[in-house]
């Protein structure tokens, strides 16, 4: 969004790398949904994906360091299409390169998590990674018309 100028940022939310800061996500998304007529099922998908991406940046990208930058950006390149990007200054890491874990196995007593990328790919129309000069950017697109979360 900022890198290639194809989508003008219309709003952004600046967080610090604390899990408690994530409580700001939901009201911010609700405000965007109200102002830009984001349908309920898309709002659900956005919140699901952003919760996953932001929590991974905080817990894994910054490995617990609490005063680092996490910026969530919103753009609407065309009617009915919503783009969200999460930009950080953590060590370079492309989560899309990591092998996607299989769905939870009822016999696997140890694993609870690891479903993030799977969820993002199932609920967003597009999921892309790009490195930035200072860290990473994960960009996700959500279509109101062709939402994977459509009822």
């Amino acid at each position: 969004m900022t890198g290639n100028g194809t989508s003008q940022i219309q709003d952004q939310l600046a967080l610090r790398s604390r899990l408690s800061d994530m409580t700001q996500l939901s009201p911010w998304i609700e405000g965007l949904a109200s102002r830009h007529a984001i349908p309920g099922n898309v709002q659900f998908a956005v919140e699901l994906c952003l919760e996953e991406v932001v929590s991974n940046v905080i817990r894994h990208g910054y490995a617990g360091a609490e005063d680092c930058s996490v910026v969530v950006q919103f753009a609407m390149p065309r009617d009915g299409y919503f783009e969200f990007a999460v930009e950080d200054e953590a060590p370079r890491f492309n989560p899309l390169d990591a092998p996607e874990l299989s769905a939870l196995d009822p016999e696997d007593e140890t694993r609870v998590g690891g479903q993030g990328i799977r969820l993002e790919r199932q609920f967003a129309n597009s999921v892309e990674y790009e490195p930035t000069p200072r860290g990473n950017r994960m960009r996700m697109g959500f279509s109101a018309v062709e939402s994977p979360a459509a009822k």
């Binding site: 994530m22 939901s26 919760e51 996953e52 929590s55 009822p106 998590g113 479903q115 969820l119 199932q122």
Partner: protein, 113 residues
């Protein structure tokens, strides 16, 4: 997130969740779910009023479910809406914690030998 419990016949505990199972919701129910997981053997988690389920919320369900199962008990999920159910299915959580949309089938599934 409000969490309420109701004791039903047959030793079944109904846990009623209301609202969003996001990071805040997961934190709000974590302690009580752990207490329930350590003391109950037949648990029905009523999701009818849950409007959102994220990965933090999934953890808040999976961990107690495994604990209950480890003690020889059972846990089921009841009445998720379509999007919540899609999260459960996409993550495979429904293979660990069965999902029911009919109350009687959920209760039947919790009958312990």
């Amino acid at each position: 997130m409000p969490i309420a419990t109701e004791e039903m016949t047959g030793g079944i505990t109904r846990v009623i969740l209301d609202g969003k199972l996001d990071i805040e919701g997961a934190a709000a129910i974590d302690l009580k779910m752990n207490v329930i997981a350590g003391s109950r053997k037949a648990v029905l988690v009523d999701l009818q009023k849950v409007s959102f389920l994220g990965s933090m919320g999934l953890r808040a369900l999976v961990a107690p479910a495994r604990a209950i199962k480890g003690r020889g008990g059972k846990m089921v999920l009841f009445g998720p809406n379509e999007l919540v159910e899609k999260v459960l299915k996409t993550s495979g959580t429904d293979t660990l914690i069965p999902v029911h949309h009919e109350l009687q089938s959920a209760l039947d599934a919790l009958q312990l030998p």
